[in-house]
């Protein structure tokens, strides 16, 4: 199976993958290397509990797992999600706006196949970023005294746990790209939603009356820091992956029904594509 569209999409994604992977990895690695320098100070500072909860921490910041929960796992997923939105909307809506999608769709290939190959490239790109972050952890975790609180395998597990959330937002990016008039609108609308969902999850953790709202945010189901303390919650993972599959299926239907280059919202394209 030659999968030319997938291979081409991977070529287009390569620099984004490298920069996001190296950037996030370097940041994660730096936080581990800096931990011993902060450790004494952090033991003396008593942060308000709400403050820690807002950033995903659960207690004593001088403990490596809590330190990384607030310094890495609170930010890394939203940055990774931004990548997901930029990459997925770029692969579909971006190519349509650029005009290069015509060159592919004018060939004897089905739209579903084009979309699935592009989605495949996105999944592999996110996986590659994850691998780069894991490689970066390996340059720090084994060499820094973390008091036996964290192992390399545990941080790798938390890193891999970001993927279902990233794939979910990527799938939404393909769906938005198949419905919106342009890549800018697709990416913009989805970024606003992603940031809002992130803030909802953060505020709902600290404001008791709206605590239930966090369950509506995809971030709640992204078991990053939680993997370090509670292990993987499989139904969270299944929910995000199921959501991603559903979004890709809807994206495929919408893309099949879409009028290419029409530059208008096409909210009912999925009906036309059935």
């Amino acid at each position: 199976m030659s999968l030319p569209v997938l291979r081409r999409a991977l070529v287009e994604l390569r620099w984004q993958v490298v920069w996001y992977g190296v950037g996030l990895g370097a940041y994660a690695s730096l936080m581990v290397w800096l931990f011993p320098s902060f450790e004494d100070t952090l033991q003396q500072v008593d942060y308000p509990e709400e403050y820690l909860k807002f950033f995903g921490g659960t207690g004593d910041l001088s403990q490596p797992s809590n330190f990384l929960a607030t310094e890495v796992w609170s930010f890394a997923p939203i940055i990774f999600v931004i990548y997901a939105i930029v990459a997925s909307t770029g692969l579909l809506a971006g190519d349509e706006g650029h005009g290069s999608l015509d060159a592919v769709l004018a060939q004897p290939v089905s739209r579903t196949r084009v979309l699935l190959e592009k989605a495949g490239a996105f999944v592999l790109g996110a996986l590659a970023i994850d691998v780069l972050i894991c490689a970066a952890w390996a340059t720090a975790v084994p060499f820094v005294d973390l008091h036996g609180d964290l192992t390399l395998l545990e941080v790798w597990g938390a890193t891999v746990a970001m993927l279902p959330l990233v794939w979910f937002y990527g799938a939404l990016g393909f769906l938005a790209g198949a419905l919106a008039p342009s890549r800018g609108l697709a990416a913009g609308a989805l970024t606003v939603l992603a940031v809002a969902a992130y803030l909802v999850a953060s505020f709902a953790r600290v404001i008791q009356p709206i605590e239930w709202l966090q369950y509506l945010s995809p971030y709640y189901y992204a078991d990053t820091a939680r993997v370090l303390t509670d292990g993987v919650v499989w139904w969270h993972t299944a929910l995000l992956l199921g959501g991603a599959v559903l979004a890709v299926a809807l994206a495929a239907l919408s893309f099949r029904g879409r009028e290419i280059g029409a530059h208008v919202w096409q909210p009912f394209a999925w009906v036309a594509g059935r």
Binding site: S2, P4, V5, R8, V11, E12, D95, H98, G99, S100, D102, A103, V104, L105, A106, Q107, P108, V109, S110, E259, I260, G261, A262, A272
Partner: protein, 319 residues
């Protein structure tokens, strides 16, 4: 498939964008092996029709079939028979021309005919190792043309194929299209430039405001349409003298010693005999161009008072 099935059949094709009607029930029939011109000014609906053929957009009403295969219900199968050149070819960033050809072949799942592509590249003087984004408009057009031709598809759909090309390359493209037709392949050629359609097409449809104005056989049109004859005499001629012109000849212009006539073949002898009584310094006879016809149609459509009537017979083809 029946050999009489047309290469392209468009029936009652309508496309609306909200209140705007881009195509209003057009009918076109393109036979196998012909080079068919799809003529019209910018905005007439040519590219819309082509995007509908390729199923990039969907018709409001009507039907399109390529070699009998429905372009909406069996779009992938229909596109298997089509090589397409868009009006403004755009390819993924960072690709060289050679990569564009290989990529398109891979997407089509067919081997690239390298000797054929190399021959086209040489004829069009294209450097296939250069990145497409660095190429001029004309060179990108060549990339698109080679890609469309490299498919060896039995139907080529070319949207304004000579845009941005210099005259020498345009001539080469016309030669390539004749070669394609000689192989028995069909070319559907959209253009707003009448001369290039006239140079290569056997039949043409004129589209205006989303409607087919006419479809005609170019050779027949040339045979039946009047010749234009410009004469310069050695001295000015009085208006009254033209009253003796044969009835088969029509005087279009009279400016002193310069006269312009229009006549069909059967009136030519009478014109020459009438001119024999004067001293002729120069005589220029020009075959009617498609442009002449085009302008007539447009004037007639606009209801211009001085518009000459449409020629009685222009080989109008049923479509």
């Amino acid at each position: 498939m029946d050999a009489s099935t047309p290469a392209l059949l468009i029936e009652g094709l309508t496309k609306r964008y909200g209140d705007v009607e881009a195509l209003r029930g057009i009918d076109v029939r393109v036979e196998r092996g012909e080079i068919f011109g799809f003529l019209g000014p910018n905005g007439a609906g040519k590219s819309t029709a082509i995007r509908l053929i390729l199923d990039l957009i969907r018709p409001t009403a009507g039907r399109i079939a390529v070699f009998g295969v429905d372009c909406q219900r069996a779009a992938v199968e229909a596109r298997r028979s089509v090589g397409y050149l868009p009006s403004d070819p755009t390819y993924p960033n960072g690709m060289t021309a050679a990569e564009v050809f290989a990529y398109a072949a891979a997407v089509r799942r067919q081997p690239l005919d390298r000797p054929y592509v190399d021959g086209l590249v040489r004829r069009l003087q294209l450097d296939p190792t250069r990145h497409v984004r660095d190429l001029s408009r004309g060179n990108r057009q060549k990339v698109g043309l080679v890609q469309a031709l490299s498919t060896r598809a039995p139907l080529l759909i070319l949207d304004e194929p000579t845009t941005g090309l210099d005259p020498l390359v345009q001539e080469e493209v016309e030669g390539i299209l004749r070669d394609v037709a000689a192989e028995g392949r069909t070319v559907f050629f959209s253009s707003h430039i009448l001369a290039e359609v006239e140079a290569v097409c056997s039949r043409a449809t004129i589209l205006r405001d989303g409607r087919v104005v006419d479809t005609f056989d170019l050779a027949e049109q040339r045979r039946l349409a009047p010749l234009r004859v410009e004469v310069i005499l050695d001295r000015p001629l009085e208006d009254a003298a033209t009253a003796t012109l044969p009835a088969t000849v029509r005087l279009l212009e009279h400016d002193g010693a310069r006269l312009v006539f229009e006549s069909h073949d059967e009136g030519m002898d009478g014109l020459v005999k009438w001119l024999a009584r004067y001293h002729v310094e120069r005589l220029i006879s020009r075959e009617p161009t498609l442009e002449d016809l085009f302008i007539r149609y447009y004037h007639a459509q606009d209801g211009a008072q001085d518009a000459p009537a449409r020629p009685a017979a222009t080989g109008r083809a049923a479509s």
